[in-house]
């Protein structure tokens, strides 16, 4: 096999992608933990960690640009790099949503929740599963696994609708709860968006393997 330097560059890029995924996963997990436990300190960590995620996104973009400029990748390699550039945007946005959730946690830290938070954490945990499986599928070039992982997003969407209905009912029943209900509704929306970004990662994994962009 030829092009050893190039293959090493691609390998390094995959490692950077994996590192960013782990950081974003941690960020989502921490945001969900902070939400569940009304833990302001952990929420603040999520906000602080986001700077590192953003920096890594910039670094990976730079790595991709250098490979595009110097190695002129084609076919599978080109699709792989295009996909990485798209995936890191989704990861960065997922990190931002964790920050939005963390800010709501800080806002609500000193008041008891108007409802037990059972479903919202499930949304976050599911998004992490999709994200992890999507990235594994990407690195293993397994389009079927990516497809299956993407389907889990339906679960997140359904929970979101259910949570919204529940919160609307609470707001109608007691107008003193509107403020917190609205915050929780935003949190649910952020978690739903997190699921969408995780699903996008799966779609780019499929594109990378098959060369077809499908909207799942």
């Amino acid at each position: 096999m030829t092009r050893e330097k190039y293959d090493n560059q691609l390998e390094k890029l995959n490692n950077s992608l994996l590192k960013m995924t782990i950081m974003v996963e941690e960020s989502v997990k921490k945001a969900v933990f902070a939400l569940k436990n009304q833990d302001k300190a952990v929420a603040e960590e999520v906000i602080a960690d986001d700077i590192r995620i953003n920096r890594l996104e910039t670094d990976i973009t730079e790595e991709c640009s250098i490979i595009l400029a110097t190695e002129q990748p084609v076919a599978g390699d080109l699709r792989h790099i295009i996909s990485i550039m798209k995936i890191i945007t989704d990861l960065e946005r997922a990190g931002d949503h964790s920050v939005h959730i963390a800010k709501n946690v800080i806002k609500l830290a000193n008041e008891p929740y108007i409802k037990p938070l059972i479903d919202l954490p499930v949304m976050g945990e599911t998004a992490v599963v999709i994200m992890r499986r999507g990235i594994e599928a990407f690195l293993n070039r397994d389009a079927d696994a990516a497809y299956e992982a993407a389907l889990l997003d339906k679960k997140i969407d359904n929970i979101h609708l259910q949570v919204v209905r529940e919160l609307i009912f609470i707001m109608i029943s007691d107008n003193k709860k509107i403020d917190q209900a609205l915050s929780l509704m935003f949190v649910s929306r952020f978690l739903e968006r997190l699921g969408d970004h995780a699903k996008n990662i799966c779609e780019w994994s499929i594109y990378s393997v098959k060369g077809e962009k499908i909207d799942l």
């Binding site: 096999m1 030829t2 092009r3 190039y6 002129q72 990748p73 084609v74 076919a75 599978g76 080109l78």
Partner: protein, 251 residues
């Protein structure tokens, strides 16, 4: 619907007992640029030379199967000179004749019977304008063509081919001896010329094939491994060996 100006079917080519081309099936559309890529010795130049019978000059060269130009068997043509007028060729190394710039271009038309001076003058000017060389050389048409730079010489050779009003232009690595600026001039030129001509180019430069061609054929060991639209070849090749070759991971 594409009109195919060149078609080959079950084409085999032998140099004595060595088989250089196997079972070539290809349809080359008119007014398109078709790139032939593949490692050295894969048969792409051999195939190119088959199209205007440059292989006739090689002793022991034998062909079976069919290769047609506008529906007529190329190897059944009696007038090879007319065939080569219709299917012109540009080589890797610029090869201007050791005569003036004017005479280089006028040579072909003269051979094909044009003698009126004004007519020749117009043909020379048109040819040089077509290859964007006119402004650079109009004041020294009587100077030797060998005084031109490599890039200018190559454009002159293309103009010389155009002067006999061909239908198809074959180019065998036409820019491999040129610097990047001259290369992009030739590439721009080919893109303009495809409006009026069918262009077939052999190139070792993958990016060049990707940049300028509409269709690409990947040759390997005397066979066409894959032939498709260029963007498909370079984004989603069907064949693993094609992908390995264009990614530089071959062998």
């Amino acid at each position: 619907m594409d009109n195919y100006v060149i078609t080959a079917e079950k084409l085999d080519l032998f140099y004595n007992s060595f088989q250089a081309l196997y079972d070539i099936d290809i349809e080359i559309p008119s007014n398109r640029i078709t790139a032939l890529i593949g490692p050295s010795g894969c048969g792409k130049s051999t195939f190119l030379k088959t199209l205007n019978r440059m292989n006739d000059l090689v002793t022991g060269c034998r062909i079976t199967g069919s290769v047609k130009y506008n529906g007529r068997e190329i190897y059944a043509e009696n007038d090879v000179s007319l065939l080569r007028k219709n299917i012109g060729m540009v080589f890797q190394k610029p090869n201007p004749f050791p005569m003036s710039i004017f005479d280089n271009i006028a040579y072909g038309p003269r051979v094909h019977g044009v003698t009126v001076k004004n007519e020749l003058k117009n043909m020379v000017e048109k040819g040089l304008r077509d290859v964007a060389l006119w402004d650079e050389v109009k004041d020294r048409l009587n100077k030797s063509a060998l005084s031109l730079s490599g890039g200018q010489q190559q454009r002159l050779c293309i103009a010389r081919v155009l002067a006999v009003e061909p239908d198809v232009i074959l180019l065998d690595e036409p820019t491999s001896a040129l610097d990047p600026v001259s290369t992009s001039r030739i590439e721009d030129l080919l893109d303009k010329l495809k409006k009026d001509y069918t262009i077939i180019i052999v190139t070792h430069n993958m990016q060049q094939a990707a940049r300028i061609s509409d269709n690409t054929a990947f040759f390997l060991n005397g066979r066409i491994e894959e032939y498709n639209q260029t963007e498909k070849i370079f984004l989603r090749p069907e064949n693993r060996t094609t992908e390995e070759y264009i990614s530089g991971r071959f062998g």
